[in-house]
Amino acid sequence: MTRIALFGAILAALGVGIAAALHAEVAVLGWLATLAFLAVAVAAGAAAKSLRASSGLIEDRHDRGPSMLEPLPPDVVSRPGALGRLWMYAVGAFAIMGVVPFVALARRPGRRGTAWSSGARLVTSDGKAVKADSLVVGAIETVFPQGRTGAPESATLLLRLQDDVLRVGPDRAGWAPRGNVAYSKICTHAGCPVAIYRHASYELYCPCHQSVFDVLDAARPVSGPATRALPQLALDIDSAGYLIARGDFSEPVGPDEWWRPA
């Protein structure tokens, strides 16, 4: 009886886990959990019943310390048999039943996009839109998509370079109109803002862990622990002369994670 009930408890507890993962209805979850607990009650109750009658044992009222000289009764120290192992599996099944609701809390991992979209004007942190010649050559500015200043993961570095210094691959042709080039400000190593620009060597420098990115070569890492280039934001100029984004970043911004799409 104990064996059957324990099997039932294990199945029901695992069932709760599976049902929760499949977003089953409340009634299914609730009654499966009820069944699991009830099966444990039956298993323990049946085990207690099957023991040789043990009621009516006595000990002295005023004995208040452990009596270490007595040998342990054999059934206290016996090694767990098949039934004992079944009890342990039941504990494991209930642990799974307890963990699954926490898994249900999590949203699908993987990075969602930033606030940048096609046609979004570049604005400074105080909301001023940036024109193609707003920045003098050699200057740097932190920019956001218009109307989304401060949006998470959207901080972008806009740099104005001489027209001919940028080494542009064929896939990124026209992304930096009139020397305006934009890279994500979120370091690909550990997510710090890449806040320092080494003007003389065209390098972006992260103050947290000293990763260095080459501005002229698609912000590829040249030193430090970062392994991935800062994603580039493709720019364009609208009819009024303002800088706009052509879309979101070329690849996910920020540090790598297990679920990051390749």
């Binding site: 409340v26 959990a33 043990s54 009516g56 044992l57 009222r61 452990p66 270490m68 090694r79 926490f102």
Partner: protein, 440 residues
Amino acid sequence: MITRRIGRFFDERLGTNAALRYFATKIYPDHWSFYLGEFALYAFGLLVATGIWLTFVYDASQSSAYSSVVALSRSAPVGYLMRQVHHWSAVTFVAAILLHMARIFFTAAFRKPREVNWVVGVSMLALASLAGFTGYSLPFDALAGTGLRIADSVMLAVPLVGGWAADVLNGGSYPGPMLLPHLYTLHVYFLPVAIAVLLSLHLGMIIYQKHTQFVPDPAHVVGRRFWPDYALRMIAALGFSAAVIVALAASVEINPIENFGTYHDWTVPNPAAPDWYAAFLDGALRLGPAWEFRIAGHPVPAIFWPGVVMPLVVFLFAICWPWIDARFTRDRAKHDVLVPPTFAPWRVGFGVALLFAGFVLTLAASDDQQAFTLHVPVENLVVFYRIALPVGSVIAGCLAGLFARELRARDTQHGKESERVVVLRRTASGGFAEEDTQST
């Protein structure tokens, strides 16, 4: 075997086998009524388990509290079930504590040397009710907000210090910006930690002082060994308690906040009634007289008496009961043997009268709904309950006392009292020898 190796690892370093031997072979008396307290213990376990989960989705800000709780039941069925199990655990937790306390009271288990544990237990009942009320408030739905508003008014009614306390709790006047954060801290930190500490004391004292028993052998503990006999019964009780609570949660919806809407201080759901353990306070507020007077120009509002003085008197009276009982029975000796309730009809009568008074106050908390269903003016019901509170309690107490006396007389006639009790005594060699104890 891995368990054996782990056991040896700890024994070599901490000497755990000696402790295990002591606890495993310890004798526990057994009776069905001893499982009421265990039900409360397991309900507390479920509360902690589901409560931890709920902290991951709850947002304790006034603007988002309600929507965060609604969202949790909409986003995943498991979230809805968690909240239902949590709430059902809370109401059955308080109920089990009260039943357990009634068992202790009617069998006189609170007597010397266990007065301290009675005080710890009564304190846990108060803390459990507070934990329940703060938890009930957290979703900040229309019903919760209404309950908080009433609690705030009761606080304000306390002479001199009430206004200060309410201001601190609210972080301003009701509903202040700090109200929900403060309730949240109380609910997930201070109250559960206080309960856990008192619970440890409670169980520690039971183990140290040893359990009371019905077997009339004051010199010995008579019962079952902890391992495996009593432990298996505890696991069965755990499974059964959890099954009952989860079944209730799966089949009967409790506190459907989606129907109440979020709280505004100009709306109130009708009917508006609290969870059952707080209903006696609400009933007292409904029955309380419309007296208000002034001390040196300051008003003492009507709700001060039913809302503050009444619960305080009840709590202090409950705390002091072991000493009141000792004075009344002129019995200050140590007792380890329980008194069957029928052997003390006066105690049965007194306890039933108190419970009946609580019952009347609880009923009064839904007098509006009764008036609606019975087509009776609610004013008449208030008059009825005001009379039923003292008169009904006295009658119920007298009837219960007489009934207990009658039962005892019958038991004596059928010779139940002279039952022979067989006691097995453990010998020095580890075996068992039978021994006769004649009950008195």
